[in-house]
Amino acid sequence: MKPIDTQRLQAYLDGELSPAEAAAVEQQLAQCATSRQHLEQLRQRADLTKRLLKTPDVAIPPFTKKSVKRRHLGYMPWIVTLAACLAGAVWLLQPFKVEEKAPSSLYFYQEPAEVDANRPYVEQATNVLLISQETH
């Protein structure tokens, strides 16, 4: 009879098989000495693992919300803090920045006005605007 594979035996040992699957494994175990021996080895291995990996309990410290939040800053590299300070300083100085840029060129623009054919040309109303190139 073919022995039961390790993963299936492990799942049986850990109580992870359905009742039907567990019953099938038990039936096989009853007929296979190799599988029974293997199961016992897995049981001992599990006991050793649980014993070695378990760390002792410690006295539970009080939970302090503030101390945890303060500790978060400890994780932040100093360079990030410095960058944040610089960014803040630049932002604070922003309102004092003076716009010194002059328009690159100026020209006149004559708006079309209504023409009165009964009056001399020099008396015709015209709207002349001084505008910069940027606004055009």
Partner: protein, 170 residues
Amino acid sequence: MSPFDSLYNQHYNRLRRLAVRMVGNEENADDIVQDTFLVLYEALDKGTTIEYPGTWLYKVTYNKSLDCLHRKKRLLPLETVNRSTIESREASSEEDTTNLEKKEQEALINAILASMKPRERALLVLYSEQCSYKEMAETTGLRFASVGKTLSRALDALEKQLKQHGYEAY
């Protein structure tokens, strides 16, 4: 006692055991556990309903441990401890011998765990805490169907390394 205090007292040591084994350093583990409970505190404060607080807390601790490992790169000692050199050391009394052996045993376990993938490490700790495969899957983000196989592989690797250092399960 508030629901938060009750969960804090009930789960503190379980989470600390996972964090200690994950990052191999008690100081960082304590920070991870405090951070985990801060997340819980804020979640409860917002009125979030947590169906399975035990698994939820494990998951947060696991993720924070991964973050910590990522930040600090390597916290666990990578050199393996030779059992024969441990036994050859002289101790002044029987009590000292026991303490020394315990310390060396801890160093050996940490070294073995450090050689494994974080997910396998977590599975072994959760296994030693009697967690079900479902809890292991939810904590580590592994598919439920893969837990048995991954756990078996991790147990095999642990057994092999323990044998090399003189620890026989049978």
